[in-house]
Symmetry: C3
Subunit: 344 residues, 3 copies
């Protein structure tokens, strides 16, 4: 805007300034000018709009996942004898949530009771006499509260006695091969429903053309059955380029990624779930400290005289985490509600 | 910039180019020009700033949810007899996390032990003689490991015997009406605290004007008690436009959405949680394959002679997933820290 | 563009318009002009590019967390007698997920059976005679189904009898000091692996220079051991500026934030996890309604005559939620795939 002194402001308000233009009438200069204009237009439409879709309205997904594992396995160990495992035994937690665990290997310590026993031998627990043990001492890496006594752990080693769940678990003898070998053939049905509230769009991974009888016998295969939502555990681990038996022995975490990214401008049946699999825990072979995945849980019983006893299980296995991705976009709704509030 | 040959570059550097302007002094042209300027200004302030708030600094929410279900129900079944259910019985997992499950219907199979029994009859298990059964065979859709024998399942049907938890669950007789009918009157207290680290803002859904005595007896109602964080299960299902008893019979997943989107520029008490409810599993009636939500879990017991026995429960019910939304924004902090790192 | 009548359109297409320019050759005006140009350039490079990194490609993190708590504690209560607690007892859920709970205080009600007993006395349960009690009535805040009888609760008070798990829990006598005081010295190993699929970047919080023997004895300390992934519970609560024993008595939720935001343009070893801690439940002292965190769970037993009995535990404790942040960015990949689809 031009200068505008206080006296002449009223007149100044109605002034309109414009540039003096030169018009060059030349086919060569004109062609170059139009070409440049076309290139800019092409970039905006072609790259910004079509490739990047910067103009589109987007919405994040609300997802719900339920899972159901099927299959039975058989183990034969000295602690438990021959034993059949079904889903209520090996699937922890049992609720069929988006994260589920399949037990494949274990160290079982049955018939533990609250009592006293000598600690497992290591540098800080080996003792020569009672004076080496401190009553009430409670090492965070130990298994209980020291009683102050020094007891025979074996014929050659004495260790401090502890008050604990005895007998103590000896977890150095992890079976080299996963006990529940049959787990590789277990299957899991994953039900995933997605909602884009802004677009009032609902879809689930059991596609409309899947019927009950197909669902009863199908199994996911990237080439022959890409729409079947039932996955064999071994296949998922293979797709993540891992070996099932290796992973089953020491445990691990496997991600099941379901990608719902798609473009509402295309017909709905183009927009299906894409599955991919990836090992989520340690992927860095040169840093192999603290590998695998395990946890301890116990089943509690009461004896006839009312004493509590438990079976402690150190469970190794594969935790499957279902992770749902999704950003949906459409250019038909340019001025939609910008808040992700779901329509009630 | 004008042309700048290497010889004249020094002189060229201090050149300043500007356009030749024409000043048109006309009230009509001037008025139109100022109107266009005003419209642009109005668009920038009115739409971009006020409606879209593009100028605002935003921050994502850190949320913590705890839930607590209340209520008792009574069931009378042939397997269990008359039995009262309280929260420790029907609320699975019990931890009061953002996802909780209320058991409403079930198939109970008590007194299972590791033993052998004939399989449930279907195409692949019906046999005429032992030669139809393969010892050690383990079908992923079966219930155990085949022993190789063909046994009487009933007076008319013979099936292959399996080593399994016997007696097997017969899950075709799901009660048509949810056993735990009283579940519709159970209530859940949802405690949700949100933090916007960038704005040092904390708030929870129990608002400052809610006191203990109100919290003891209130119940959420969109019109009369919109601030009460205690929800009757039936009301939530109704708001999602579903029928509680239908959902309770076969199970389902219900989303409880808490929306904390609000504008820090307004006084804090304008910024409260907005609740909405939505069924998250199958919403597409024409695709009714594999409906509902159920899972199996077991309670383990030991008999006096040390044998393990269990009660298997196929649990149907409603899983409630609390989903918290939130993007907070303010234009008072335009140059804030762009990383979402919480202030320690 | 100039006016373009339909007749002259062809000629018009090859017209090129440009502005008439004035070149001012003055060192003063030129210097000011160049200075303004430099300031704009400086702003774009310095603020937009270096500080805001608006030019960078970003990717969201895929994270997997496993946790493992260690330590044993001892309690001495009238209900349970002397008892040692190990991880299988106090860590709920036991699966070592990103959210884990450590039991620190409790109200134990052993030997509950399905039977009848008088309700806990309050305004609605106190009765004078059977006519005050309604058979089959089932208050959502009560403990069972009324039988219609009025019974002596104590020598002075009569209440309506209910069918329930009896004896009822009396939860007004919460121990003033957390029973499991030793919990403050428990440690937790947090294993966190992150993946940025778009950048094919993997890292975990057990850094490459950490070896097994260090991991066996280290403990996180912001100054001396900032890379150790083992955290003492008390230290985490202290960093969140809370008192462990206060939090342990009534329960609470503590967030463990792991921040992986970093810049791929820098060498990888600059990019490590940053830990911070924050109490996530009620932070607003003036609104102290419904404080703390607790839930009820039960352990089920069978007596020799087949009757079910249970031990009900109202568990108070600290729930730790591991929350992983991360947006990674790099300017070396400007035209990358904009979808967050993980490479299979």
């Amino acid at each position: 805007m031009g200068g505008c002194s206080s006296q002449s402001c009223h007149r100044c308000f109605f002034e309109y300034e414009t540039e003096r233009m030169i018009v060059v009438k030349s086919k060569v200069v004109g062609s170059v000018f139009r070409l440049i204009q076309f290139l800019i237009l092409f970039y905006v439409i072609g790259y910004v709009c079509v490739v990047q879709k910067s103009y589109q309205e987007t919405d994040s997904v609300i997802s719900s996942v339920t899972t159901k594992v099927k299959g039975t396995g058989f183990t034969n160990t000295s602690d438990l004898g021959g034993r059949v495992w079904d889903v209520a035994d090996y699937n922890i937690p049992p609720q069929g949530e988006s994260s589920f665990f399949v037990l494949t290997n274990m160290i079982v310590t049955p018939n533990q009771t609250q009592s006293t026993c000598p600690e497992l031998p290591n540098q800080s627990t080996i003792c020569m006499s009672d004076s080496d043990c401190l009553e009430g001492s409670n090492d965070v890496r130990g298994n209980g509260i020291q009683t102050g006594l020094c007891m025979n752990y074996s014929e050659t080693v004495k260790t401090c006695e502890v008050l604990s769940w005895c007998p103590l678990e000896i977890d150095i003898n992890l079976p080299e091969h996963a006990l529940l070998v049959a787990a590789e053939d277990f299957t899991v049905l994953i039900k995933n429903s997605v909602t884009y509230p802004k677009f009032n769009f609902h879809k689930r991974n059991i596609l409309p053309d899947v019927n009950s009888s197909y669902l009863k016998q199908c199994e996911f295969n990237r080439k022959t059955d890409p729409d079947c939502p039932i996955f064999r555990l071994k296949d998922m681990v293979s797709e993540a380029e891992e070996d099932f038996q290796t992973m089953a022995t020491r445990g691990g975490v496997l991600g099941i990624m379901i990608d719902w990214n798609c473009d509402l401008d295309w017909p709905e049946h183009y927009c299906g779930p894409k599955y991919s699999f990836r090992r989520l825990d340690n992927k860095i072979p040169e840093n192999n400290v603290a590998p695998g995945y395990n946890f301890r849980f116990a089943k509690y019983y009461k004896t006839t005289d009312g004493r509590e006893t438990r079976t402690l299980i150190k469970a190794y296995g594969i935790r499957f985490d279902v992770i749902v991705f999704g950003t949906r976009s459409s250019h038909f709704i340019l001025w939609g509600n910008p808040s992700p509030a779901p329509a009630p």
